[in-house]
């Protein structure tokens, strides 16, 4: 936490639930080319797993994955598996990641998101689908690029007003 020295208010469960609902909403927007759009649910999940590994973990990741699978009409379990792997990596690396600045954090997140995408790719290839082309790696990279902004946005409810901090 070299960059961010302010002490944060503990995260509220309502903030976490609202952020997941918003991420699902963003995922369901009618995008033109899905390969280029980051998976917002995965991104928010990675964020909470890194920031609150005791609150958000593999169970929530798995449930979210199932919801995502059913909502998108894909194989039931493919996102559940990918999100479980992602949550595991994020929880495991959370201590390490928080020592870095936003840019280097984003690099870690890019690797995690790419791995999650790779899991989905493997599942779909095993199920007999075709490889959808290399643009598929753009989504996770775009998600990682959004990481600093996401961090700032999702930590907003946890920041204290500056006056309170001086006490």
């Amino acid at each position: 936490m070299s960059q961010d020295r302010s002490i944060l208010v503990p995260a509220r469960a309502s903030t976490i639930v609202a952020s997941f609902a918003l991420a699902l909403f963003l995922d369901f927007l009618p995008w033109r080319d899905l390969r280029l759009v980051p998976d917002f649910v995965a991104l928010v999940l990675a964020f909470w797993c890194v920031r609150q590994p005791r609150l958000v973990g593999l169970g929530i990741a798995w449930a979210l994955g199932l919801v995502s699978d059913a909502g998108n009409g894909v194989l039931l379990g493919q996102h559940a598996l990918a999100y479980s792997v992602l949550a595991f990596l994020a929880v495991w690396m959370s201590r390490r990641i928080l020592w870095f600045g936003p840019g280097q954090q984003a690099l870690h997140v890019a690797v995690m998101l790419l791995l999650a995408q790779g899991v989905v790719l493997l599942v779909r290839l095993a199920a007999g689908d075709q490889f959808p082309g290399w643009p598929i790696i753009v989504g996770p990279l775009a998600g990682a690029a959004l990481w600093p902004m996401l961090t700032w946005l999702l930590l907003l409810p946890q920041r204290r007003p500056p006056r309170e901090q001086t006490i």
Binding site: A21, L24, F25, L26, D27, F28, L29, P30, W31, L34, R35, D39, R54, G57, L58, G59, A61, W62, G65, L66, V67, S68, D69, A70, G71, N72, G73, V74, L75, L76, G77, Q78, A80, L81, S84, V85, F88, V91, W92, V123, R124, A127, D129, Q130, P132, G133, I136
Partner: protein, 321 residues
């Protein structure tokens, strides 16, 4: 690392154990879904949970369209009105001709003693959103089992076939588009009646006629319509136009690329078509593998034969009771 102190707080199982647990759970679900399709009820329930979010997700577009419509100018509206009126005129002429042609065809069919063509009912529906899955081409529409949508129904828009309903949830259903690599549709060349099967081309957004002989009588610009021999799609709906043919003497089959007639990836309103009249049921598919498995051993067959009269007797006693 090796000398980590004992944990002060109970945290449940280690993350790796949890990962293995959830991963195996997911894999089990995947196998159940992909191989056996046992998970449709779970899927339906979950789909119902996310339905509100999906509805909200389409709201901004409706809102933007509303705002856009509000600011569209008078002149634009006048132009559009004039164009629409002209179109209605043309359409009404077509409709009149269609009616007379339909009457004539019915008469001819009666003369031939052929069965009446089944009536087609159309349910208008709105596309809610496209599935978030770059591996397949699916959209979700806002009509489901509650509105009488049947799985397998063809879906069309005003210019042609869009796809087929592949899964029905209570409030919405999933439509697989023609461009999905797994989707096939039987077609016919309008010019000469040549039959073929069009397969989706995936991300290219085109269709491909497979297994067309290299010397097949087909040209660029040929229009393809549904042939109706599959019993799913009504005959005569526009499907695609041939845009490119590659004939290679070394290959057995020609490579025929077609462009879908309907706005497969555009537009927001579609029609779900369902047939009112019942067609005669299809004869059972003969599955040689299964038959062989059934009477694998003679003993099993004898056992079956011995069981049969016993069953029949049991039934009779049930009825008597």
């Amino acid at each position: 690392m090796e000398h980590s102190p004992p944990p002060f707080f109970k945290r449940g199982p280690a993350p790796l154990v949890r990962l293995l647990f959830f991963a195996s759970l997911s894999l089990a679900l995947l196998v159940l879904d992909a191989r056996f399709r046992y998970t449709e009820t779970v899927r339906g329930t979950l789909a119902l949970v996310v339905y509100p979010i999906q509805r909200i997700a389409t709201a901004p577009i409706e809102f933007l369209e509303g705002v856009g419509g509000y600011f569209s100018t008078q002149a634009q509206l006048l132009d559009e009105n004039a164009a629409l009126r002209a179109q209605v005129l043309a359409n009404s002429q077509d409709a009149l001709r269609f009616q007379s042609a339909q009457a004539e065809s019915a008469q001819l069919r009666r003369m031939l003693g052929a069965a009446d063509k089944p009536q087609v009912r159309a349910t208008p529906a709105e596309i809610l959103y496209a599935g978030r899955d770059p591996y397949s081409h699916k959209v979700f529409i806002d009509r489901g089992g509650k509105h009488g949508v049947q799985p397998g129904s063809p879906v069309a828009d005003e210019t042609g076939v869009v796809g087929q309903v592949t899964r029905v949830h209570p409030l919405l259903s999933e439509v697989t588009l023609l461009t999905d690599p797994d989707q096939a549709i039987p077609v016919q060349v309008l010019r000469n009646g040549l039959r073929a099967v069009a397969f989706g081309g995936g991300n290219s957004g085109t269709l491909e006629l497979r297994f067309m002989p290299a010397n097949a009588e087909i040209r660029d610009g040929d229009r393809l319509v549904t042939s109706g021999i599959d019993g799913t799609y009504p005959a005569g709906l526009p499907v695609a136009t041939v845009v490119n043919i590659e004939r290679d003497a070394e290959q057995t089959f020609a490579r025929v690329i077609c462009k879908p007639a309907a706005g497969v990836d555009r537009g927001r309103f579609v029609l779900v078509l369902s047939e009112e009249g019942k067609r005669p049921a299809r004869p059972d598919d003969v599955q040689p593998g299964r038959e062989r498995r059934l009477d694998k051993t003679r003993r099993a067959r004898i056992k079956e034969a011995a069981k049969e009269p016993a069953k029949a007797e049991a039934k009779e006693t049930d009825v008597a009771r």
